[in-house]
Amino acid sequence: MKKSFHLSNFLFKILLGFICIFSFVAVVYPLYFVVIASLSSATMVNQGKVILWIREFGTYGYEKILEDKRVWLGYRNTIFYSLVGTMINLAVTMPLAYTLSRKEFRMRRPLMALFVFTMYFSGGIIPSYLLMQKLHLVNSVWAMMLPCALSVYNVIIARSFVEALPPDLYEAAQLDGCSHFKYFIKVVLPLSKAIISVLFLYYVVGHWNDFFSALMYINKDELKPLQIILRDILISNQAFAKGAGIGSGMMGGSYAQDYADQIKFAVIIVSTLPILCIYPFIQKYFEKGVMIGAVKG
């Protein structure tokens, strides 16, 4: 009896260790590989010799990226869309969440249903595209910010958070003759820092990684966000279209393909780093944010 008890606990520990180590390695290694490969020489990477550490250090890919104007233009556009877009998102989400959180508001449930329904049913991409055309938003910066000005899921999270604020606060404010506007700005917003951080992160990441809106609504080169440029360089293999093309000219065609991967590694790092940098700062709020969202049920 006692022995089997120990054996099962031992097996448990083995399995636990395996799951944890395996998930860690499986997630980290591909990312780690991209980093070391981007800093190694192309020949070493191609021969499969870059496995655990950098071989023949070099920054060829990064140098080429610095010369590629498309990347910087995409960068600029994406930063603009992300920041302005997120401001719009928060400005729409928080007041709406407040309204939907007021239990004495009679239209609360119907309004909520109106929003939740859109999570599960939509007009589809074609009517949406025609609408954008009619509104003259195709090929405008607003196409990147207005269709995604609100995420109903985030409204639900924010509403649950505001609902959970102590009701005494509202009662006290009302006795003082405080209006909804004033209460919202003076009391609710300062107490909602945690949820605003979570929403900020969700929205910024959403905008930063948004490929679909641009694919649908943006054709002009000067408006293209980073993700479209990335697609062109990374997947459609246009690494040597402009800017970086000088390099291929000097090297001769056969080298170009070898070095294309180098450029890809560098582009991946350069485009992903900013997002990965802000995330640890907000990580402590995640579980809170997700938990609040889950309460809804």
Binding site: S23, P30, R106, T272, A294
Partner: protein, 310 residues
């Protein structure tokens, strides 16, 4: 503070109290009407011939002609099958993973290893689909991909298999990379649920001499059950909306036979070849099936476990 009845006086009083709430909801309301409900109004295009001058309301009545066109086209079978295969495999393989991961993380004591593991597994969620697909292409490249080399050495794949360009490997590649992307992120919600588990239950189980397997079986899993069911219902609601971006980006001429799903097909016939009414009809068909699945699973869960959305 409660207002009873619907007399004019009360209405006025209520309006005086609530008008600011309406103002705050207004931007959101305008948005949802313009960007969500107006396209829904445009669904009628599926039953009409598209007329450029008339926009969303369409031209002459066409009835079910465009639906018929889809049902008899050879791509109906292909796109339906592909969509279902990808969606179901994703759910069957991808759904239990975050649960397992959360149970494992929950077993670790609070401290650095746990923190590091959590930080790491959430990371892929922040990497864009474009970059993920690019990484797949590089790492699985048939000539120098490191994953290709690994799998060849382990004899998982043959010497000449091209993971990127074979109809057989598309679905596994799609599903496994999907797990890589979202498993960690999806585990957060289960971890949150586990952290709110009743501590007395653990103590009681300990007193009863339960080992760690039994703790998971009799305490952790029942704690997670409602969350698991809710998330399962929600994933059914999007069963046919297989991630457009990723499928679209992973498509190439070699795997198109298994990677053309309804959504990518709609994009191609609608946006790229301008068959507006036809593609609206196909898109609507997709949405209706999604919605039906959601309602059906929701009803089943309501009856069997008394858990439902809304």
């Amino acid at each position: 503070m409660k207002l009873k009845g619907t007399g004019i006086k009360n209405r006025k009083k209520e309006w005086r109290r609530d008008w600011q709430l309406w103002v705050m909801a207004l931007p959101g309301l305008i948005w949802v009407i313009i960007f969500c409900y107006t396209p829904m109004y445009g669904i009628q295009l599926a039953f009409k011939d598209y007329d450029f001058s008339k926009g969303l309301t369409g031209g002459d009545w066409a009835g079910l002609q465009y639906f018929k066109q889809y049902f008899i086209s050879p791509l109906f079978g292909t796109t339906m099958k592909n969509t279902f295969v990808i969606a179901l495999t994703s759910i069957v393989v991808g759904f239990p993973m975050p649960v397992i991961l959360a149970l494992a993380i929950n077993q670790l004591k609070k401290g650095l290893p746990r923190k590091v593991l959590q930080t790491v597994v959430y990371m892929p969620y922040f990497i864009s689909t474009v970059v993920v697909v690019a990484m797949i292409n590089i790492l699985c490249s048939p000539t120098n991909g490191i994953i290709t080399a690994l799998l060849r050495n382990l004899y998982v794949i043959g010497e000449n298999t091209n993971i990127l360009g074979s109809p057989k490997t598309f679905v596994p590649l799609y599903v496994i990379s999907g797990v890589w992307q979202s498993c960690g992120w999806n585990s957060i919600i289960y971890l949150a649920a586990l952290s709110s588990a009743d501590l007395e239950l653990y103590d009681a189980a300990k007193v009863d001499g339960a080992n760690r397997w039994q703790m998971i079986r009799y305490v952790d899993l029942p704690t997670l059950a409602p969350t698991i069911i809710i998330l399962l219902i929600m994933s059914m609601g999007s069963i046919l909306s297989v991630g457009f971006e990723k499928t679209f980006l992973m498509q190439n001429t070699l795997n198109l036979g298994v990677s053309e799903v309804i959504q990518t097909y709609v994009y191609k016939i609608g946006i790229m070849s301008n068959q507006i009414s036809f593609s609206t009809a196909v898109g609507l068909f997709n949405n209706v099936i999604n919605f039906t699945c959601l309602i059906a699973v929701n009803q089943i869960a309501k009856k069997k476990a008394d858990i439902s959305l809304m």
